[in-house]
Amino acid sequence: MDKKNVIICRCEDVTYEEIVRAFNEGYKDIESLRRYLKIGTGPCQGKTCIPLLQRILYELSGNFPQNITIRPPETPVPFGIFVNVPKK
């Protein structure tokens, strides 16, 4: 497998190779990888990539990562709805 041509996070364009490299640099858990690579922080909030990332981290470390923080919003939201508009 040519890992640099395998996309793990579509929203932020993070490849398999980048994850392995970051892991070797010391970013070994989901939260620090999120901050470092932005993996799982795009519009879909990790719905597709987090399960793949868990599997990759398990292969790299032998430990299956748990405890994932989910912050709102969990899906792309039009900005307009957050603007204070008069109630009708």
């Binding site: 497998m1 990759i56 709102p72 969990e74 792309p76 307009g80 709805i81």
Partner: protein, 466 residues
């Protein structure tokens, strides 16, 4: 790419409307979504990715994965797979993250709702939950992000297994029709095209949006029936347009009557992979092969036998190595695996224009995690699932679950769970439902008594509160 004849389905296509893609007029049927209309017109590339500028297209087709984001009427990051197309709509391919709109003409009002029970998701679990509650006169608000009620039932053209009580022998689409009819006759309050995206515990408020309108929902009880989404696997070119979930192909073919491709590859020989392959054949699409990484076919023998009769080869211990193509799948490179699932040097190519993945589903747990429900990772249930009581209440008081969000199973169990969650709520509200509940629990146990349920039962034990 339109399907005109189908042995089971009739596609209603009366009027036509016109919208604009990249400034060019495109014809569509008013009942279809933007993504579907584009596919009908042979357009597969919806955006170019932010860093690597790779072409991207449809993946889940049910509003979950965000692979179909485009700019619509000046608003970026719109999930085109669940947005109904409208006359004169301006749709553009998105480059990267998109730009903020320059005007405020999109702003609308906000509304507040305080239903006794909020039901999130209108699949078999959510529909059943809503019906059960409304039958007893309880005030329900049902929220669905897709344009249609019925969840994934609306694309299941096959007849269900199980017992008569759970509507076995009936096609999924017919079950959906029956339930929606019941829902309407009870006058249940529901919103489609409405996405629930956040929960804030301190204010006990759920936020949702319909078009550009904000909905604030303050419920007493909640049934989370958010279902599941399709999993992805890592291989080269896995983000190429026309690599998509098997369920997405089903949406194209069975809901909208659009061919996903001419020659397709199915990855995964579980029940979903086998059933969808057969449904594609019924729609006149050539399934070139089914590949399965393990050494045996995971799904039921009857489903595999139907494919064999059509001459579709099922290659076990084989997987996809690479999707090849410019802007769209043109061929797949397959590779044989050894007994440790490592790739061997035996590779072969097949010419296909679509690669469909049926490599498992994962529960849509995000809102539950936001709500602070205690979660656990259970592989046999598909991923993260909430801990729950026998009555389907999570660790957060008055928050209930039903269906695939609690563990991947069947539509039949989802319906029963939807009913069970509602009966549990009714009990708290002071209704006498004990007998009904006991009978239901027996039915559920019976459904889960087959050899196929063994792993699920083990998983359920691990997430059960005493």
């Amino acid at each position: 790419m339109e399907i005109f004849e189908h042995p089971i389905l009739r596609f209603e296509r009366k009027s036509k409307i016109t919208f604009f893609f990249e400034g060019n007029p495109v014809e569509a049927y008013p009942q279809e979504t933007v993504a579907m209309a584009l596919y009908r017109n042979g357009i597969n590339v919806f955006s170019y990715s932010p860093k690597l500028h790779r072409p991207r297209g449809l993946f889940c087709a049910i509003g979950k994965c965000s692979s179909c984001l485009m700019e619509v009427n000046g608003i970026p990051n719109v999930r085109t797979c669940i947005l109904n197309v409208q006359e004169g709509m301006k749709v553009k391919r998105q480059n990267g993250l998109g730009d903020l709109p320059k005007t405020s003409e999109f702003l609308k009002s906000e509304k507040e709702y305080s239903p006794t029970v909020l039901v999130i998701g209108s699949g078999p679990a959510g529909l059943m939950a809503s019906i059960t509650l409304k039958e007893k006169g309880v005030d329900v608000l049902l929220i669905e992000q897709n344009p249609n009620l019925g969840g994934q039932l609306i694309k299941q053209t096959h007849k269900f297994f199980g017992s008569q009580k759970e509507k076995a022998g009936t096609r999924g689409i017919e079950i959906a029709n029956e339930l929606v009819k019941e829902l309407n006759s009870l006058d249940v309050n529901y919103f489609t095209n409405t996405t629930l995206f956040s929960f804030y515990p301190r204010e006990n408020v759920f936020l949702a949006f319909k078009d550009n309108e904000l909905l604030k929902i303050f419920p007493k009880f909640v049934v989370f029936a958010t279902g599941a989404s399709e999993k992805m696997i890592p291989f080269e070119g896995n983000d190429l347009p026309n690599v998509m979930g098997a369920g997405a192909a089903q949406t194209l073919v069975n809901v909208y009557g659009i061919k996903v491709g001419t020659n397709v590859l199915m990855v995964g020989a579980g029940n979903v992979g086998l059933i969808v392959s057969y449904q594609l054949l019924q729609a006149g699409i050539n399934v070139k092969a089914v590949v399965e990484a393990s050494d045996k076919i995971g799904g039921y023998f009857v489903h595999a036998a139907k494919l064999t009769r059509f001459g579709v080869p099922i290659y076990t211990r084989t997987t996809i190595k690479k999707a090849v193509g410019v802007d769209k799948v043109e061929k797949a490179i397959l590779v044989e695996l050894d007994e440790n699932f490592n790739e061997t040097s035996k590779e072969f190519e097949i010419d296909v224009d679509a690669i469909l993945l049926s490599v498992g589903l994962q529960p849509s747990y995000q809102l539950l995690a936001q709500a602070g429900c205690e979660m656990k990772y259970i592989p046999s249930l598909g991923g993260y699932v909430p801990l729950r009581s026998k009555e389907l209440e999570t660790s957060v008081k008055n928050f209930y679950i039903a269906g695939d969000v609690g563990g991947i199973e069947e539509a039949s169990t989802a319906m029963l769970e939807g009913k069970l969650a509602s009966l549990s709520i009714l009990k708290k509200l002071g209704f006498d439902v004990e007998k009904e509940k006991e009978a239901l629990e027996l039915d559920l146990a019976k459904l889960r008594s087959t050899p196929f349920s063994k792993k699920i039962l083990q998983g359920l034990k691990e997430v059960a509160y005493e």
